[in-house]
């Protein structure tokens, strides 16, 4: 079976969803990614990536409770699905395989 493809930014978001397990929603993903990448990321990009991955079946979502500091709006939590995990695994494998193919030469 051919897996649906995943973009580079989507992969980062997906990794973060998996890492934040059960605590992943728009703002938390954005903050952690900004921290790790030390680069400014707009929250809209995160939302687009999440919606796309939800359509592809890499993540699934549920609504959280209503909190005061969100203007009475619910949080939407994302968790990685089995398919999402497989995709991450295969991406990881692919990268390590390719990495191993680098000849051992000095780059100094």
């Amino acid at each position: 079976m051919k897996h649906p493809s995943i973009g580079e930014f989507e992969e980062l978001v997906l990794l973060m969803v998996a890492a934040l397990h059960d605590e992943a929603y728009g703002v938390s993903i954005q903050e952690n990614l900004v921290e790790k990448l030390s680069k400014n990321i707009n929250v809209s990009a995160i939302h687009v990536a999440l919606k796309r991955m939800e359509d592809k079946g890499f993540v699934k979502s549920r609504f959280g409770g209503i909190t005061e500091d969100r203007g009475g709006r619910r949080k939407k939590y994302y968790v990685i699905t089995a398919l999402g995990k497989r995709i991450l695994d295969s991406q990881y494998e692919l990268r390590t395989d390719l990495y191993k193919m680098i000849p051992k030469i000095s780059f100094s």
Binding site: S44, H47, F63
Partner: protein
Amino acid sequence: MRTRPPKWPLLFLRWFCREDYLDEIEGDLIEIFLRRHAHSPAKARRQFLWNVLKHFRPEFIKPMRLKPYYNCTVMFRNYFKTSSRNLARNRGYAFINIAGLAIGVAVCMMIFIIIQFQTSFDDFHPKKDRIYRVLTEYHHSDAADMSHGQSVPFPMPEGLKTAFPQIEQVAPIYASHNDQLQVLDVNGGSVKNFKEQSGVFYTAPSFFDIFNFPLLAGSYASLKDPNNVLLTKEIAETYFGDWKTAIGKSIKLTVTYRIGAGLFQSPPIVLKVSGILATIPKNTDFQLKLVIAFGTDFTGDRLYGLQNPDWSGTSPDFGCYVLLPPNISVSNFNEQLSAYARKAQSPDNKDSYIVQPINAVHYDSETGNYSNKTISHELINVLWLIAAFILLIACVNFINLSTAQAVNRAKEVGVRKVLGSNKSQLLMQFIVETFLIVTGAVVLATGITILVLPFVNRLLDLSLSFNIFNNPAIILFLLAVTMSVTALAGFYPSIVLSRFNPVNALKSRLTVNASKGISLRRGLVVVQFIIAQALIIGTFIIVKQMNYFMDQPLGFDKDAIVNIPFRPDSTGSKLTDYLRQQLLSINGVQAVSFSSNTPVEDGNDIWSTFRLDPVKKGTDLNAIIKFSDNEYVPTYKLQLIAGRNLRPSGPTKEFLVNESLVRSLGLKKPEEILNKEISIWDGRIKCPVVGVVKDFNDRSFRHDLAPLLIATNSTMYRQAGIKLATTNISSTMQSVKKIWEQAFPDYVYEYRFLDDKIESFYKQESQLAQLYKIFAAIAIFLSCLGLYGLASFMAVQRIKEVGIRKVLGATAANIVYLFSKEFIVLIIIAFAVAAPIAWFCMHKWLQDYVYRINIDWWLFPAGGLVAIIIALVTISFQAIKAAVANPVKSLRTEG
């Protein structure tokens, strides 16, 4: 105080964002905003707005549909079904609706095709944006105003080439008229004779670099050498049978040409066919037939012909076209042209020159063009207006009938509303229904147009074609008409119908509500009759003016006079004497006169400046010169009021003048001018005046009388005027033909009656009059169609009322009066509006004519009366039917 995110970005987010995403997105944005707000409120607000904007993307935007609308295809099918059932049930109304609309749309389409054709003239030349015509700007010494003409001085084309090297191409062009042609066989013997009224042009190869007239065979460059000629495919086929064999063949041409005021004839020349032009499109003002190399014969003559380097020398048929480089400023170029003219011309010649873009040529009725067909922008606008009005009348019919019928549909609307239809759905239903009717009408209109187009072509002397498939503009036009008529005609009835209160509708209590509708219907009927009556009155006035043209005494005899073209030969008056003697021996011929032209001409006159010796007043007066023998005065029954007629003479020896000329010289009495000498053509001819003729109309009624000189000169005679006895004209004409064919075996014999010729001066007016008659008839017909529908509907609605009135003793006449009264009042109101409008427009139209009718007051009531009578006849059908019906029948049924 609680911090809140900025209001407008938040509202915007809520407006565009999908409901199911809003919780997440808005929540996240607010959360971010609140955290940032602690650090820097201003920055947080900016950031919030920016984040909202970043979310404005297709993934998050609500679907476009405003309301969930899931059963639309099913409902549309239902709309079609109810519409067609409804149309089938009310066949009469459906017919009136569709037929009325179809006629309106057909008129619109026809006008569109006409305008499309007229505005497409000469727009197929790839370089059309850079093609210009050189016009002469005549500065009259006696008046401040100036006029324009399309003829230019002979040295103009060559002069432009040397003085303005930036001009890409310069083409001289001479349009010849009434040429006799003979097809020659190999030995030079003549095979067939032809005559071309127009279409013979002399020009250089550069003409074809400017204009796009493709060649089938041969080359344009062959026009560099004199005596070469290009034929169009059609002409080659008529002359030689097959255009492919025509190349290299010879044609003998006898041409009469005009230089300045003179008419000259050159000896026949033999031309060689050096190329074949493809069919000339109909939408060009150059209706080429034969294109002769510029430089042939008189066009190459440096002494007396078109190569004469004299800047005051010109011919009415000589023009010049140029191809300017791109991005040139025309006003700047015109200034340079004027400066150049000042240098090149003698100082007392005040004329200057301007260039006119090719796309203005077809609309320029002042200067005209080589096809003699122009259409003014005003006429185009008037046609558009008429098209719009007729369409409006048709739409009004539709609105009237559908709102009148609304009561019948009330139950349906009630049931639909009860079952849950909302207003917009009902609106949709009736729009769909209108759309169906309009589409049917447009299809029908297309059929009507195709059928009627040949008649329009014949009436307007056009060559229109209707081909929907290679004319995308027509399709667009039809779509636009369909849409706008649907909107115009369907919108109001749909609103009325969809507004019904379901409870009232189901209880049949709607008749009370309908009274408001009636007043609107009345208003619409008034509008219809304003348009129709204005058109009727306008048509009356145009027809009256036309009759005036035809019947007004011209001051000379035009009945039973036939004109036959004539060519003098070198024998001087011998030929004319012989012909005269032969003609007078025919039984039905009463008088014969040879002359340069007829007493009245339209733009075909010979003009010259003249002066009275010794100089009295004004040195620069212009007069029309007619050359004729001494029989001219008796043949055309001109009246002498002083002096005597001309004496027979070959060369010019004496003048007759008209009263206008005497007046223009400031003389009080006609006798004062007798025996004084007048010189014309810069003193080349100088003769005494022997007589004065009473003023007659020497030009068309568009112009005032012009000063006139009549003199003998046998070399200038171009036609014979023969006064016939009114009996046995055809046999007399047979004898005349025999004599002519004997005398001129090489020429095609043709003749024209003078009254026909005079009628042809007003061809445009008579075409216009025909057109207006048709439009007025259609307008009144459509209005009455609507009236008929309305009256028949009223008859059905008021059937009970009529029954009760009859039972109570009303006579049939009372009932008819009851029905008619209302409509008559409406028509009279419409008349009160239409009369001043019609007066204003027609008054303006009449100002174009020097000789015009007075707008009589009785024309207006007559127009109104016609409308009332036609309307009454229309209504009375229904009114009488209702009046004579048995009241028992209508009252017995309960409904």
